[in-house]
């Protein structure tokens, strides 16, 4: 084992920009005897946009849950911009610039749209414990309003979330993931259930993100995935099955047999 000082120096050196945004080494997650994710090793560069494909139950959402700390992996290490975050609670990872959306929207249904986004902005600020209400010129409130504009929810600003359409709720999820200064975002099937128009808006938002903001997107719709991502990871039965450029993956006979077979109807 390394002496603490050596590893601390290595930690700092690797955190100074050369490190990968996300680095998973031999990460596994077992639910009882079920291996939802087995021996996953994965590297994503800063600013890289990666699509994760795979059938239902392949372990994609489990991968996200382990990365964000929603639950701890059974084994393996996770590094975020060089820092070993494997044992960090979720909020510590989020405060370091990691963000996510949920496949099934997790929103505060009793609160309004603006309050949901405001909560997201406060969560990654220093005002989490503030006993003072937001003033009219509050910077966090202003950034919440910017995010509302970004996802085209202006007209629903003061609508309780419970009254939003499904598509609007998905957009709100994305706005909340963009709060503060994200360095890397995990999108869990953001396009599922959206109308074609909403899908186009989503693609615009994703391609319009600043270049340094890398992300992983889980997406069943190849059209969406391949338009926003520059690399693809295929998962199957909790393992990584193939990695490559979108074109390679699309043309790969094994992938076609497994995943795209008869998939033209989308």
């Amino acid at each position: 084992m390394n002496a603490p000082t050596t590893s601390a120096i290595a930690e700092r050196m690797s955190a100074t920009g050369t490190a990968n945004a996300l680095e998973l080494r031999n990460v596994s997650k077992f639910f009882g005897a079920l291996a939802a994710m087995e021996d996953i090793s994965l590297s994503v560069r800063p600013g890289e946009r990666r699509a994760v494909l795979g059938s239902n139950g392949a372990g994609k959402t489990t991968l996200f849950n382990c990365v964000t700390g929603d639950f701890l992996p059974t084994s393996g290490t996770i590094r975020f911009f060089g820092e070993d975050v494997s044992a960090f609670p979720a909020h510590e990872r989020i405060r370091r610039g990691l963000r996510r959306t949920y496949q099934i929207s997790l929103l505060f249904s009793g609160l309004t749209v603006i309050d949901n986004i405001y909560l997201a902005c406060v969560g990654v600020s220093r005002e989490r414990f503030s006993f003072l209400r937001a003033r009219r010129d509050d910077a966090l409130m202003a950034s919440a309003e910017d995010l509302i504009r970004l996802v085209h929810l202006e007209d629903a600003t003061h609508t309780p979330v419970a009254e939003l359409s499904y598509g609007q709720q998905r957009q709100l999820e994305i706005a909340m993931a963009l709060s503060g200064a994200p360095r890397f975002i995990l999108f869990d099937e953001p396009a599922a259930g959206l109308s074609p128009t909403e899908r186009r808006e989503l693609i615009d938002i994703l391609t319009g993100l600043p270049g340094h903001m890398g992300f992983i997107i889980i997406e069943h719709d190849m059209d969406v995935a391949l338009r926003v991502a520059e690399s693809v990871t295929m998962m199957h039965n909790g393992r990584i099955f193939k990695e490559g450029k979108p074109a390679e993956i699309e043309d790969d006979p094994e992938v076609q047999a497994l995943y795209l077979g008869g998939g033209d109807d989308g």
């Binding site: 979720a90 909020h91 949920y102 505060f108 909560l119 997201a120 969560g123 503030s130 909340m176």
Partner: protein, 352 residues
């Protein structure tokens, strides 16, 4: 840009006239409470309203934890008693061997500090549990506090506790005079009520409600869920602590019985009867409780029944409320208003 501008002016207008947005009912209630000493006799001022405001504050501290934080704590009465004990110990009482006799500006802040610290430790233990287990662990701490104070003679003076615990003669006022005590308790009840209302919409309060509804999501937004819950215990303890000091001054004494299992559970009953969803609920519950506790005995005896049955009356009232309206009296009121706004035939909402 144009849209932006109109919206900004709209906010400015509502902010400039916030005083006009206070509903008429609040003006009426506020005025009635301020004028009360002109009509009510000393007993009503001191015993009925003074006690109502104090119990209302303690129940309010529970309402804050339960309503906004989803944590039902049976600890609040013990925290109030602890604050009372601390002013007796740090300040003056008839038990001169124990009381340190420090001036009020030392003893009161110190008492509140000890109370908040104790609540923080208990909160830290309790927030790891949920639902019925939170109730059980806080009840366990409350009973431990009761038995400890009863058996410890060195610090808590055991069974008899402390008497002769009096408020300071600040501004030359006898604060135990009925009118002065009425205004003193009214003032602190109002401050607590407004503080809870204000904080509920501040980042801390909003986040607490987020933690109540979806802790996992809050963690994924960067919140330390445990720390937030513990901080809620600390804030609530401040309110309970102030109330506890007032309670101690009211009867000039504090003893293990102040936070016996009965009073501990009564706080829960008060909060539930009034309603846990809004900060006014606990005060309504407290008024009902105090009225029952004060007059039910006489009513029962005049009906030829045993006076002790008033506990039964409170119990039945509790059952009825829990059964008919889980949101307490306030819930009944809401439903009545809702129904009034509907057309009785079609059930449709009427346009106003």
């Amino acid at each position: 840009m144009a849209v932006e501008d109109t919206r900004l002016t709209a906010t400015r207008r509502t902010e400039a006239r916030w005083i006009e947005r206070i509903p008429l009912a609040y003006w009426v209630l506020g005025l009635a409470l301020l004028m009360m000493p002109a009509f009510a006799n000393d007993f009503v001022l001191y015993q009925i309203f003074g006690w109502t405001f104090i119990l209302g504050m303690i129940a309010l501290s529970l309402m804050f934890l339960a309503g906004y934080g989803g944590m039902v704590s049976l600890l609040q009465m013990s925290l109030a008693a602890l604050a009372g004990y601390m002013v007796a110990i740090f300040g003056t009482s008839a038990i001169e061997t124990i009381s340190m006799g420090w001036p009020w500006y030392v003893s009161i802040p110190l008492a509140l500090l000890v109370t908040v610290l104790f609540a923080t430790i208990c909160g830290w233990l309790a927030v790891r549990t949920e639902g019925i287990y939170t109730i059980m662990i806080t009840l366990a701490i409350a009973s431990a506090f009761f038995y400890f104070t009863r058996q410890n003679y060195v610090v808590f003076n055991g069974f008899s506790g402390f008497n002769g615990v009096l408020p300071p003669d600040l501004f030359g006022v006898d604060w135990r005079g009925p009118k002065a005590f009425y205004y003193l308790t009214l003032f602190w009840a109002t401050v607590s009520y407004l503080a809870v209302r204000y904080v509920s919409k501040a980042p801390f309060g909003l986040a607490l409600q987020g933690v109540r509804d979806n802790p996992r999501r809050m963690a994924a937004l960067g919140y330390n869920v445990t720390a937030h819950r513990v901080a809620a215990y600390a804030f609530a303890a401040l309110i309970a602590g102030v109330a506890g000091i007032l309670l101690t001054w009211q009867s000039a004494q504090v003893s293990p019985g102040t936070a016996g299992i009965g009073p501990v559970v009564d706080i829960l009953v008060i909060a539930v009867i009034g309603g846990l969803r809004r900060p006014i609920g606990p005060f309504i519950g407290a008024l009902i409780y105090v009225l029952l506790k004060t007059f039910a005995v006489d009513v029962l005896i005049s009906l030829g029944l045993a006076g002790e049955r008033f506990q039964l009356l409170i119990g039945i009232g509790f059952l009825v409320i829990v059964f008919w309206s889980p949101d307490g009296i306030l819930g009944l009121w809401d439903r009545w208003k809702e129904n009034r706004g509907r057309d009785p035939l079609t059930g449709e909402r009427r346009e106003r």
